[in-house]
């Protein structure tokens, strides 16, 4: 299911209402557990409106799934956490306003790791989402529901959010295209924060063209996000079948220990294929990569410990029977409302920011982050894209790693440096390990989404993936 296909269907006489009905029917019979809240009424109402007045806007009549971390007015938004049970935002996130303005139809909210803290969508209070390629396996995380919904043909488009790989990891595991934009390209207004200085909302689709289209809709300056920037171009227009100017850098640190052999082979195959299509490549080094995981987890957990302080059940979210005094009430709500992984990260983050430790951890992490950023800037002077495996291995079994938080943290090794550097990166399908998809990560210069999308597009068109 892709945007062009749907447009053709609609042109051939199918109504948007029929389309939306069939989508809900599919979701309701699905085993993927990709959607956690459906917006049936508003979606059908909007579908009928489009049928009556015609499809308008860049996404007129096109259905889309939204990660449960993005605020949707009138539709319950919980970050798949018990603590936000029943919270219905009174306002739309910037990206939702943009989607509505361009005529998209919001189908519902997709499954995710609780507060986006995970790599498998197993920590959701709604239960794990499943990988369409193998239902016993995870779809990746944290935006697992969005990737599974697209891969499973439930919706052509979906939005996720990527703090340390949360779009690219599930895109890789589910064999779809997922982009983490440059920090500042897409407004975060309305995205429930996990780690503010790292995350971006990003698009999912079955192909590069649709990702570029969705990026066109959601990107650009928003005065409500102080870190938001003006975009330089329209991305769909920039897609050309030409990579002759593309100079690929292959950072050796991303092919090291812990990378599955089949994955490594597939990605090298992808690089060679691009070379055949006219690109060139050189092997390069990003020397501070080894500190990335430590730096990432300190920054992310520190920011998270502060971001999640507001959930006290006082104004919205979980309530527990009889209220006691404020201190007891909010302590009990937090104890029961947050899951294990969330509590672990709040505790570690609180520790890292405490008096006497701030300089040792948080401040030091910020300094090393600057070095990592410089690595990328330096490497991307002589090259215009970097290519690496997205994930070190294909999708693992549900339950296989959930008991080992550290092993799960290590899975982010190739995705977190990109968030630390703030550069854009797209994951495209690049072959299989058995019947499980492999993802290739194409990283670009700040605000140069055009080049990485074009590289991905050429790769996809010429038989990659």
């Amino acid at each position: 299911m892709n945007v062009d296909g749907i447009r053709e269907m609609l042109q051939n006489g199918k109504s948007v209402e029929e389309l939306v009905h069939s989508i809900f029917d599919k979701i309701e019979h699905s085993k993927l557990n990709a959607f956690v809240t459906l917006a049936k009424e508003s979606a059908l109402e909007e579908a009928r409106r489009v049928d009556k007045h015609g499809a308008k806007g860049m996404l007129g009549g096109i259905p889309i799934g939204i990660k449960d971390s993005i605020s949707t007015k009138g539709i319950q938004t919980t970050c798949c956490s018990k603590i936000l049970e029943g919270y219905v935002p009174p306002y739309d996130a910037h990206v939702i306003e943009r989607l509505k303005a361009e005529g998209a139809i919001i189908i519902g909210k997709t499954n995710m790791d609780e507060f986006a803290m995970g790599t498998s969508t197993e920590t959701s209070r709604f239960g794990p989402a499943r990988n369409p390629w193998d239902l016993s396996r995870v779809p990746g995380g944290s935006s697992g529901g969005s990737a599974a919904a697209v891969a499973g043909g439930e919706v052509p488009l979906a939005l996720g959010s990527d703090t340390g790989g949360s779009v690219r990891c599930p895109a890789s595991f589910c064999g779809v295209v997922g982009l983490k934009p440059t920090y500042g390209l897409v407004s975060r207004y309305g995205l429930i924060a996990y780690a503010n200085s790292l995350e971006q909302i990003g698009p999912f689709a079955g192909n590069v063209k649709d990702v570029a289209l969705l990026l066109d809709v959601i990107s650009g300056y928003d005065s409500r996000d102080s870190t938001s920037m003006t975009k330089k171009c329209e991305y769909l227009k920039e897609l050309k079948d030409d990579v002759s100017d593309v100079k690929i850098g292959v950072p050796k640190e991303f092919f090291g220990e812990g990378i599955d052999e089949k994955v490594e082979k597939a990605v090298w195959g992808g690089i060679k294929a691009l070379e055949d299509m006219g690109a060139s490549y050189t092997e390069i080094s990003l020397p501070h990569t080894k500190y990335s995981l430590a730096v990432y987890y300190i920054i992310a957990m520190s920011e998270a410990s502060s971001n999640l302080a507001r959930f006290d059940g006082l104004r919205y979210g979980l309530r527990l029977g009889k209220d006691k005094d404020w201190h007891t009430t909010f302590s009990e709500i937090k104890a029961q409302g947050f899951g294990e992984e969330v509590k672990r990260r709040i505790l570690l983050g609180t520790y890292a920011l405490s008096a006497g430790y701030y300089g040792k951890y948080y401040l030091k992490a910020l300094k090393v982050r600057t070095l990592i950023k410089r690595d990328f800037e330096f490497a991307l002077k002589d090259t215009n894209v970097l290519i690496t495996p997205t994930m070190p291995f294909p999708a693992f079994k549900i339950g296989e790693k959930i008991g080992e938080p550290l092993a799960l943290y290590l899975a982010d090794v190739n995705t977190v440096p990109i968030n630390l550097a703030g550069v854009p990166s797209v994951s495209v399908p690049c072959g299989f390990a058995g019947k499980l998809p492999i993802g290739m990560q194409i990283i670009g210069r700040h605000f140069d989404e055009a080049t990485i999308l074009r590289t991905a597009y050429v790769f996809e068109r010429n038989g990659g993936g």
Partner: protein
């Protein structure tokens, strides 16, 4: 008695701004229902992001300039993490390292001469919501929260421990308020516009921090209480411990809240949703917009209008009063204006708990003009002021209606009455002609009684002297007798 050491942390609301510090909600909530001036940002709803109000930064720079501070090249916000039910996000956006300004001062005019109070730092932060209790905080069974105040821009002014008496602390606050009102960034009449944390210790002892005192008088009262309490401890040989105390306005006492061991770790870190703000490039433009400040105005009043420093000091204590004086002084004699505005009008206003906006400078000009023309007496002018304040009306209307009491009698009428008094009191007049002072006072008293004080003393004396002269010319016998 040991030396007293006081430092203040003053939180003032920048309540002249149109919108809050990080959202576009209106600041005009004081007469509104709870929670009607809120949005996702100031309610701290998940996903909402702050955006700094540039005007708030400009106002903060204005204050920093007026307090003679060093203004930093750039400034940034931090998160101050703590839990309290009025705090919607579980942290307050405040400043920590890189505050907007440091190292300023305020000069106080004390009996013993000028005192310089050093300002350590000035920083911006957001106001939490307001807790409302039925009865008192310790008796109420529940708390209500009004989030209208949440996100209002606060400026925290921190002094060095340079204050030595509770009175100095009060004068410092008055001076600060005075400066802020001159800058047009602060309206002290609004509820919750000022809150003070006061640090106080006796030389060599531990300090107590009295939190959240919400009135100017409260600060002086709390400090006076604290001096007595700490002195009593010292006298009894008990060690003063470092602690945070609460001031109970009703009972006028301070109560221990927590000792040093219970101090919170605020886990400050840079607010990731905001970017550092470069301010150095704005300072010059803002400097140009700075109005004349109280100290400068006081000097100018003395030089330009030739009025006394005491009058100037009273007149500049409120910007409205100073402007009122200048309007009046350009129309009528400056010294007369100063006396009537600073001494008489100010007194009448204070008596009625009114401010200068209750009286029109035009009316003052008219009153002083008729007074100068000798059409009414001083007493009459005071009556006109009182009538305007109590009943309304304009000076000319009042003078017309109450002419019997207020109008200065014309010279003929005065003469008739004076001559009648002379006729009715021949003995006294005789004595007067002999140069007896008491006789003059007696006759004057009689004339004043008859005219209800509506004639000028000098006119009466003139008339008496004229009669004396006539008498001496017409009655040479009497003259010889004398």
């Amino acid at each position: 008695m040991k030396e007293v050491i006081i430092g203040l942390e003053v939180h003032v609301q920048l309540n002249k701004l149109r919108s809050k510090l990080f959202c576009s909600c209106s600041t005009q909530y004081h007469d509104s229902e709870p929670d009607t001036h809120t949005c996702p940002v100031c309610l701290g709803l998940p996903g909402a992001l702050p955006v700094t109000n540039g005007k708030a930064v400009d106002n903060a720079i204005k204050v920093a300039l007026a307090l003679n501070c060093n203004i930093e090249e750039w400034t940034m916000f931090y998160r101050k993490n703590y839990y309290y039910p009025d705090l919607v996000k579980g942290f307050q956006i405040s400043q920590y390292d890189y505050p907007i300004a440091t190292n300023g001062s305020i000069s106080l005019d004390m009996e013993g001469g000028e005192r310089i109070i050093r300002i350590k730092r000035v920083h911006m932060e957001e106001d939490p919501g307001k807790l409302v209790h039925v009865g008192t905080i310790d008796k109420s069974r529940y708390s209500l929260i009004d989030y209208n105040r949440s996100g209002m821009a606060l400026l925290e002014v921190v002094t060095e421990p340079d204050l030595r008496t509770p009175k100095e602390a009060r004068l410092f606050l008055n001076k600060l308020k005075n400066i802020l009102e001159y800058l047009d960034v602060f309206d002290s009449s609004l509820e919750g516009s000022l809150r003070v944390d006061a640090n106080i210790s006796l030389a060599g002892g531990a300090r107590a921090e009295i939190k959240n005192i919400s009135s100017y008088k409260g600060v002086e009262k709390a400090l006076l209480f604290e001096i007595v309490r700490q002195n009593n401890l010292v006298r009894r040989g008990v060690k003063v411990v470092q602690e945070t105390r609460h001031f109970d306005e009703v009972r006028g006492i301070t109560i221990s809240l927590r000792t040093k061991e219970g101090e919170e770790d605020y886990r400050y870190f840079p607010e990731p949703d905001l970017v550092p703000i470069t301010i150095a490039d704005r300072v010059d433009d803002i400097k140009k917009t700075l109005p004349e400040l109280p100290d400068a105005k006081r000097q100018r009043f003395v030089l330009q209008y030739g009025i006394s420093d005491n009058h100037a000091k009273v007149l500049i204590s409120e910007l409205g009063l100073a402007n009122f004086f200048e309007t009046v002084a350009t129309e009528v004699d400056a010294n007369l204006s100063a006396t009537w505005v600073a001494d008489i009008l100010k007194g009448e206003l204070n008596y009625r708990d009114l401010d200068i906006s209750a009286f029109s400078p035009n009316h003052m000009v008219q009153i002083l003009q008729v007074l100068k023309k000798d059409t009414i007496t001083e007493n009459g002018a005071v009556q006109v002021i009182r009538t305007i304040l109590d009943e309304g009306g304009t000076p000319s209307e009042i003078v017309k209606i109450k002419s019997k009491d207020l109008l200065k009698m014309d010279v003929d009428a005065s003469e008739n009455i004076t001559l009648r008094v002379i006729e009715e009191n021949p003995g006294a007049f005789q004595d007067f002609c002999k140069g007896k002072n008491e006789a003059m006072h007696f006759l004057m008293g009689q004339v004043m009684k008859e005219t209800h004080g509506t004639v000028n003393r000098s006119t009466v004396i003139e008339l008496l002297n004229k009669s004396k002269k006539e008498k001496l010319q017409n009655a040479p016998d009497n003259h010889r007798e004398a």
